[in-house]
């Protein structure tokens, strides 16, 4: 993807694309997309074939999702991110409306105890909470980057406004409830406040709030029984052998049994026997663990590592606070989501239903992840010097 390609079509302001795309970031993301495609196929082919279904069902849909996602990512890079600020209220507004629609019975569908999906004609489903991640990051960045009082850093009022921008979607997601997404968004919010230059007491206060909030959520019962079960099975994997605990144990066994070199792609008996439920979505990392072994799984971690390192580099070099905040927000989101997901499959994080960026099957997640990468590239491409 060179910048020339786009200039030929005359759709890109050449002056603002001084750097082009970060090739390492591009390479790492494409690498993960390829690996993810293979893993999704590996996770579904034999089970679907054994049950008389099209073994390539998921493979085909996954590839379509990737193509749509890449298209969206490219689109994201087209508009100068500095102009993106103008659209921020619209992006944020769409996200919030989506989250409201999902809660309306008849429009939103409930899966695994959470109202997180809007069913569309043709069997497609969208998950507004995914889009909300982008909305929150851009919305907060806009407010925190505004320097209304000529100050070098956000005032208390700015921070309060930014938190309000985040709080509305978070509360709506809490109503679904989708604790995994809330966890990831909250962590990203704290990081964004911290790097915005806001007074330190905000950061400290938010951390305390997170702890108290988490504690009361469990105590008061905001967290549903379904959530509690998942949390419990994290603490004691034998508590509910038929469901969450079973899944966690199978997940760990599947990864562990891969050993150093793995069983070979498409050759994992745990994967082919479908012992880990939801393997092509939230537990895609177990396929890598079993079939590609430590070498392959560590390779995936390294690619994530590379994405994060390059993301931070873009953030550091960003010319303006808005770009820096968006970058940091996106990176924090990727990092926490990857950590939560992979940590869950290996039994070091509680079980929440978040997909692994770039690898898991699932349209909404794939789209917003690639839009996030688009944002990073957008900012990279428009850096000076």
């Amino acid at each position: 993807m060179s910048t020339e390609q786009f200039t030929k079509r005359g759709r890109i302001n050449r002056r603002s694309l001084t750097h082009g795309f970060d090739p390492y970031l591009t390479g790492a993301v494409l690498g993960l997309l390829v690996i993810g495609t293979l893993l999704v196929y590996a996770a579904t082919r034999s089970w679907y074939a054994a049950n008389g279904l099209d073994p390539q069902y998921y493979l085909k849909r996954h590839i379509i999702n990737i193509l749509i996602g890449l298209f969206l990512a490219l689109g994201t890079t087209l508009i100068d991110y500095r102009l993106l600020r103008a659209y921020t209220p619209i992006v944020w507004g769409i996200g919030v409306v989506g989250l409201i629609i999902v809660l309306i019975p008849g429009l939103g569908s409930e899966i695994n105890g959470a109202r997180a999906w809007i069913s569309l004609p043709g069997g497609f489903q969208v998950q507004p909470a995914e889009l909300a991640k982008i909305s929150i990051i851009i919305g907060m960045s806009m407010i925190l980057a505004e320097r209304t009082h000529g100050s070098d850093q956000p005032t208390h009022k700015d921070v309060a406004q930014a938190l309000l921008v985040a709080a509305i979607p978070i509360l709506l997601i809490l109503a679904q409830p989708d604790m995994g997404t809330i966890l990831i968004i909250s962590a990203s919010v704290v990081v964004m406040i911290a790097v915005s230059g806001a007074p330190s007491r905000w950061v400290v206060g938010l951390l305390i709030l997170a702890l108290v909030g988490g504690f009361t959520a469990v105590k008061v019962g905001v967290v549903s029984e379904y959530q509690l079960k998942r949390l419990q099975s994290f603490v004691d994997p034998t508590a509910d052998p038929q469901s969450s605990g079973y899944q966690l144990r199978q997940s760990r066994i599947t990864i562990g049994s891969g050993g150093f070199v793995g069983k070979g792609l498409f050759n994992g008996p745990q994967t082919n026997g479908r012992f880990v439920p939801e393997q092509q979505t939230d537990f895609i990392f177990t396929v890598a663990g079993e079939e590609l072994g430590f070498l392959g799984s560590a390779g995936i971690l390294l690619l994530f590592f590379l994405i994060l390192v390059r993301g931070f580099r873009i953030a550091r070099r960003s010319q303006d606070p808005f770009g820096r905040l968006v970058c940091t927000g996106v990176i924090a989101w990727f990092a926490f989501q990857a950590f939560e997901n992979i940590g869950m499959t290996m039994g070091v994080m509680p079980m929440t239903g978040v997909p692994l960026p770039f690898l898991s099957y699932g349209g909404s997640s794939m789209f917003v992840n690639l839009i996030g990468v688009g944002l990073l590239q957008n900012i990279h491409a428009r850096q000076r010097g």
Binding site: V191, A194, V203, I255, G256, P269, Q270, S297, M346
Partner: protein, 694 residues
């Protein structure tokens, strides 16, 4: 960017990078550190071993006639993992199943309980296997009824019917041989955890008693294992290995179906004859041994039971009866597990002792009605004075008082109550030479050992019991505080560790504390017959593969030589012949066309039966024949059977009739069980071999 923003950026990067490093660490631990453990865990999730049991080897007699074979039965099984989850714990379905099969619910219920689930002491009929396998409630279900179970699976959840291999003891020619053959049964937890290196599979049956137990490692074979890889729905996706089962080896025994059946009948007849004249006759044993090899040709125990009841599904009553005193404990293998005082049959040992001590066997000795030792009178058995007798005659008519005198004299010579350090102990030495206190070493499990009450035994016994006897008044129960028992306790307290005159006297006629198994006595008489060689008795002759190749021949082993000169043994054999010619067994064998040698024994038994009556005498007849060229030793014992001659000797005569082909007073050598002696060649093995009628 100001300082704080820079710092916060740095902190954020460090935090996020450490999260990634933590994932690396965890990944390394799971896949490299704990990898092998998880690999095993995964394997146990994915793979299933399907055990295809091996066909158990046959047990055949010396001419190839099957004693144990396999049949196909229809088993109805209960899967506890399903029935236990039903709201009524499976009571309903078990009731329906019992009704359908015409079984008693209590039997079905108990069969499906693990032994540990039933109270101790009331576990008869319990399942000795594990909870994780289908538990058979019968293996001989009626096909029509079993079909209903399969067709109406909704009415019988957790119940299944399937064809299984059933061990069958065909009982050809009416043979029983339950005690020799033993039986097979499910594995127990302790079998599975056995440390003897044996590797079992849960669904296997193993030998539990008798030859089935002794030769189990040969008979069992190796089950075939099909390992399959399954998916989450337990659907088989792949076969990872498939080893065919290897059928078990056959066991050729030295038993003969015709002789065994005849021996069993002779023993049962002896018991009923004793009962008909008023004796309690609560059990018996009969053994036929080849004196040249020690091979067992027939071995019977009374009372017996149907060996097929185990596989048919023991009812609770059957299980209790096997070990009940009221039914005579049929499970006890009396020939090798029962211990009895040998009485006069033991005089063969005493005669060797006397010869070794220098007594002239050709001299005459007086046989008074009684001999006084210390303050007690020891009576001749029939309390009759016989005047002076030759030693031969004394054996023939079974004079006791001769032995009292000799034993007492020797006891005095050895120092009496203050024994010399170099005491000769001719009697004990002779008994040791006959290996009285050693097991015969027969290839059957759970053999009991006899008791030789020599000086060491008395010392040990005294050390174990002196506290009791020396505090008898306070330790004994009220019922036991009779003047006689108090006096006896006092005596035992004072010098219970010593061989007293009375002990020596009792020992010489096989009474007192001396105990033997019938098999041990058979081994001793076989040695007398064959010139002094003590053979290790064997039932198994050879282990033969399904294709006919011999895996192992069980060769006779010599355990020792009798401590007697040829002259002594010649004299002894002559005296034993005289018993049958003119002595205690003469009437029983009158008109018998072949020469038999033997000795009667009538042992007094102390103690009471459970109903309070005094115990009747043990009846013995130990023998060998033909007298001139002995080949077979035959011993019959009937406990509480009365006189040796009238009860046991008659049984022995019947066994010889079959052995030699005797009808009345004529011999037809062609009708003999072994016209040319016990077979030396191994027979062809087939489940359909028939007995050759003579």
């Amino acid at each position: 960017m100001n300082q704080r923003v820079r710092l916060n950026m740095l902190v954020t990067q460090v935090l996020i990078i450490s999260l990634m490093l933590a994932l690396f660490g965890r990944l390394f631990y799971l896949q490299v550190g704990a990898g092998p453990r998880y690999r095993d865990a995964a394997l146990s999730i994915q793979s299933r071993d399907i055990v295809n049991p091996a066909v158990r080897g046959l047990i055949v007699d010396s001419s190839g006639v099957p004693l144990a074979l396999n049949q196909v039965g229809l088993a109805v099984t209960v899967d506890r993992s399903i029935t236990d989850k039903q709201t009524d714990k499976g009571i309903g379905v078990l009731t329906r199943t019992a009704k359908l099969l015409g079984l008693r619910f209590t039997d079905v219920y108990r069969h499906t309980r693990l032994c540990g689930e039933l109270p101790v002491g009331d576990q008869a009929g319990c399942w000795t296997g594990t909870r994780y396998q289908p538990i058979p409630i019968t293996k001989s279900a009626d096909p029509d009824r079993a079909l209903q179970i399969v067709e109406r699976a909704d009415l019988f959840p957790g119940i299944d019917a399937m064809p299984v291999a059933v061990r069958n003891y065909p009982g050809i020619d009416g043979v029983n041989a339950a005690h020799v053959l033993g039986y097979v049964g499910p594995l127990t937890e302790s079998d599975l955890n056995a440390t003897d290196g044996a590797h079992y599979y849960r669904s296997e049956s193993i030998g539990k008693a008798g030859l089935e137990y002794q030769y189990d490692s040969f008979l069992r074979g190796t089950p075939g294992i099909r390992t399959v890889i399954v998916d989450r729905k337990e659907a088989v996706t792949k076969e990872s290995q498939n080893t065919p089962s290897i059928p078990g080896d056959h066991l050729v025994t030295s038993l003969d179906v015709t002789l065994q059946a005849s021996t069993e009948r002779a023993l049962a007849d002896a018991v009923s004859r004793a009962r008909s004249i008023g004796y309690r006759a609560d059990g018996g044993a009969a053994i036929v041994m080849d004196v040249k090899t020690g091979r067992i040709l027939a071995l019977a125990s009374y009372p017996t039971y149907d060996p097929n009841i185990w596989e048919k599904g023991l009812t609770v009553k059957q299980a209790k009866d096997l070990f009940s005193e009221a039914t005579g404990v049929p499970a006890l293998t009396r020939p090798l597990q029962g211990q009895y005082a040998p009485a006069s049959t033991f005089k063969a040992v005493s005669l060797v002792a006397a010869a070794n001590a220098g007594y002239d066997l050709n001299a005459s000795y007086s046989c008074p009605a009684q001999v006084t030792v210390g303050d007690r009178d020891f009576q001749n058995f029939e309390s009759k004075a016989q005047g002076r007798l030759t030693m031969k005659k004394a054996i023939a008519i079974s004079c006791d008082t001769i032995w009292y005198q000799i034993a007492y004299d020797e006891w005095v010579r050895d120092g009496g109550l203050s024994p010399k350090s170099n005491a000769n102990d001719y009697f004990f030495a002779a008994a040791r030479g006959f290996q009285v206190a050693k097991k015969t070493g027969i290839d059957l499990p759970s053999e009991s050992v006899g008791r030789l009450p020599d000086r060491q035994w008395h010392t040990d016994w005294y050390n174990a019991n002196k506290n009791y006897f020396c505090n008898y008044q306070s330790r004994a129960s009220k019922k036991e505080l009779t003047p006689f028992l108090i006096a006896l306790a006092k005596e035992n307290c004072i010098d219970g560790d010593k061989i007293r005159g009375g002990d020596a006297v009792n020992f010489s006629i096989g009474q007192g504390d001396t105990l033997l198994t019938p098999l041990k006595l058979t081994q001793m008489y076989a040695a007398i017959a064959n010139g002094g060689t003590l053979w290790q008795p064997t039932v198994g002759r050879a282990v033969v593969k399904a294709d006919g190749t011999v895996v192992q021949e069980i060769t006779p082993t010599v355990l020792g030589k009798l401590p007697a000169s040829k002259t002594t043994l010649d004299f002894l054999r002559g005296a034993l012949r005289e018993v049958v010619v003119s002595g205690t067994a003469a009437a029983t064998f009158s008109g018998f066309p072949l020469s038999v040698s033997g000795k009667t024994g009538t042992a007094e038994v102390f103690g009471l039966n459970t109903n309070g009556t005094k115990k009747d005498n043990t009846s013995w007849f130990a023998s060998f024949a033909p007298s001139e060229k002995p080949r077979y030793a035959v011993v019959v014992m009937v406990s509480q059977g009365g006189f040796g001659a009238s009860t046991s000797a008659v049984g022995v005569r019947k066994i010889y009739e079959t052995l030699f082909g005797v009808t009345g007073s004529t011999v037809d050598p062609k009708k003999a069980v072994f016209p040319d002696g016990p077979p030396t060649k191994l027979p062809k093995i087939s489940a359909t071999t028939k007995v050759v009628k003579k």
